[in-house]
Structure formats: structure tokens, C-alpha cells
Symmetry: C2
Subunit: 190 residues, 2 copies
DNA sequence: CTAGTTTCCTTAATGCTATTATGCAAATGA
DNA sequence: TCATTTGCATAATAGCATTAAGGAAACTAG
């Protein structure tokens, strides 16, 4: 048999593409093997098991998302930075729904530490530099921002907003306006 | 063989308990059958298939969540209502993580219409009556509220906040303060 | 209280998935 | 060119979802 030239990286990238096409939960060892024209057992020489494969896709997605966010953030501050970061986040989730879903799985501390998760936290804090918040308000604001972005994108992706005709893009813009306003006037319990 | 007395309702309730114990994705037809001491095939007389079972758990969870939110909301207005609703939402997710996860699956329009999803939308709008918002701002605000609640609860549940020592309860309180502030002064792009 | 009917669960079978052990063939390198 | 390493296939085990067919329990009628 001619060899398929499998590597962990190629499998991971193909799994990520597959996730965007058929959904992250449907990415199975068998489906990935079919895509390469090999038997499922062949994959086990390159990845430990199905969970290892999922984690690799998650780490890839986190890195890609961090890259995109970093580019969007470059040279911006204040509300510009907030909107650019948020749009990068939402844009990635829309273009790569399977990868985005992968990025949500729980990583053990070791993997998370080695992943781009830290870059995400640093970038979110970088946004807040334009708003002059000190701890612990900064941590609270980071959590709120992350919650709002993730919640909005998740609900949009699973059709949670589709029962109302109002354009989702407009609600997104108003939501970012709201976040900007509340960050400018933090603490918010006036 | 003595009969197990299976019904769709008993299966659904048991599946919900199982979801809270072992996680929603681990609720399988086989695991549920084991819990009742019957063979997996026995369940198919009461539920159509595994997906039907998942949807039933989702509908149950949505109804329970709506009940809890309605109770919390009774007799409150303004920020009191906002906080009570949000705490009910977060409390349910913490007490019933498996049910909460179930409530996030996509329902087809027919099922969603018959479910408590509408009650949720009505209650969120009821909260906003204390803030004097008219359309389309109201829809934008509903979407932002839902996004923030869901995002925060999801991230908290999967450990997304655990790498910072700041107590999550405090960040939650500040986030609700922020939402209250921005609702009082909507539109937020001043 | 017994016979017929319905209901519920079991058995049996198929097909998909994950995973491991074993073997062969291709690539590598001395 | 021969030996070694590496990569994929084959084969086997096991779990899950699902359907078809059979038997026993519960219900119903006379």
C-alpha cells in the first residue's frame, strides 16, 4: 500500500476542516480516517486517541483565534480596540463554527497553560488599558467582556436570535456600544 | 420478568438526573436502561430514539428554568427583578449542570414553540419594563442580557474563570451592576 | 376465573464507533 | 543490498443505537 503520509499536524488540520464542515461532535476517528483513505487504526500511530485529537483541534483553534485577535488589535485603543477584538472573535466563530466549538472544550491545566489561552487573557486586558481600570475591577470587566462575547456568539450560532426579525448585526453593534459605555464609567453601581 | 414501569416521563426525569450526575453528553440509551435494570431496546417503546430523549430533557429543563425564573421575578421590578432573574438562571445552571447543558441544544421550531422558550422571552422582556425601552432597543437589550447570562454561566461551568483568584460571585455582582447601569441609560452610544 | 388481547420487555441481529495487538510492506540508512 | 525502523492493514474485542420478532405479564370480557 502507498503510504498516506499522516502526521499529527495534518490530522489535526484535517480534523479542524472536518469540524467546520460537519460539526465538531461529528469529528470521529473513523470519519477522519475515511478522509485520508486509510483505516481508523492507522490514526493511532499519530494521535493517542479520539480525545487527544479533539484537544489538538481545540489548541489549534485557540491559536488561530489569538492570531486573528492580535492582528485586529494592532494599533487600536479604546472603543476601536474593543470593537475590533469583538468582531475578530465573532468573525472567527462564524467562519469556523466547528473550530470555535472545539475551542470551548475543557483543557487540563497543563494543556491550557501551553495553549494560547494566556494570549487571550492578555489581549482582553490590553483592551482595558484604554479604560483605566485597576484590580479587581479589571478582572470583573474581563469576565464580563468574555461572557458577553462568548454568550452572544454561542446563541447566534445555535439560532437563539433567529425568532426575532431584528438584524443580529445591529444588536451586536448596540451590545458593543453598551460594553464601551459601561467600561468608560466603571464601577457600574453608581 | 417483572415489569419496570417505564414511561416517557419517568425516562425523561431519570435522564435529567443522569445528566446532572455524569454530564449531558454521557446520557446514552444504554446508560439509562442500566439505571432501570432493563435492556436498551426496552426504551424504544417509550421514546423514539436517543435524539428524542435528549430533546425531552431539554424541554424539561427549559420548563424548570422558566418556573424558577418566574418565581424569582414575582413581585419585583427594576434592578431587583434583573438580579433575581439572573441569580435564578445561574443558580439553576449550578445545581443542574446537565439539565442546563441539555437546554442549550437546538430545538426545531415546532418543539421550541411548544416549549417554555416563549416564557423565557416574555420574562426577559418583563424585566425591561422597569427600564423604559422601546423597540428595537428592547430586542437588542434582550439579546445582550441573554448573551451575558449564558456566557457567564457557561464559562463559569467549564472553569473559564478559575485561573484568577477573584471570587466569581463578586464578578457576577459587578456584571449585573453593569447591566443595570447600561439599561438605565440606553441607548448606550452616548 | 378463564380465555383472548394488548402491552411491555427480552432476545437476537445489524451496523457504526473506539481501541489494541499483530503482521506485512514500504521507506530509511549503513 | 541488507537490516532496521516506520506506517498502514488486518483482525479482534467491546460499547452504543436501532430494529424485528418472540414470550410473558397485565388487562379485558365473558
Amino acid at each position: 500500500m502507498a503510504r498516506a503520509g499522516l502526521t499529527a499536524d495534518r490530522l489535526t488540520r484535517a480534523a479542524a476542516e472536518l469540524a467546520d464542515e460537519i460539526g465538531f461532535p461529528n469529528v470521529t476517528v473513523s470519519a477522519l480516517a475515511r478522509r485520508f483513505g486509510v483505516k481508523p487504526a492507522a490514526l493511532y500511530a499519530h494521535v493517542k486517541d479520539a480525545q487527544d485529537l479533539r484537544v489538538r483541534v481545540a489548541v489549534l483553534a485557540l491559536a488561530e483565534l489569538a492570531d486573528r485577535a492580535a492582528t485586529a488589535l494592532a494599533g487600536r485603543a479604546g472603543k476601536d480596540a474593543l470593537v475590533a477584538f469583538a468582531d475578530a472573535y465573532r468573525g472567527y466563530a462564524k467562519e469556523h463554527p466547528g473550530r470555535y466549538a472545539a475551542a470551548q472544550i475543557e483543557l487540563d491545566d497543563e494543556t491550557a497553560h501551553a495553549s494560547a489561552a494566556r494570549r487571550h487573557a492578555e489581549m482582553t486586558r490590553a483592551i482595558l488599558r484604554g479604560y483605566d481600570l485597576s484590580e479587581p475591577a479589571q478582572t470583573d470587566a474581563v469576565r464580563m467582556l468574555h461572557s458577553t462575547f462568548h454568550g452572544f456568539v454561542s446563541l447566534e450560532r445555535q439560532g437563539g436570535f433567529s425568532r426575532t426579525p431584528r438584524a443580529v448585526d445591529l444588536s451586536w453593534a448596540r451590545t458593543l456600544d453598551a460594553l464601551d459605555a459601561v467600561l468608560r464609567d466603571w464601577p457600574p453601581d453608581g
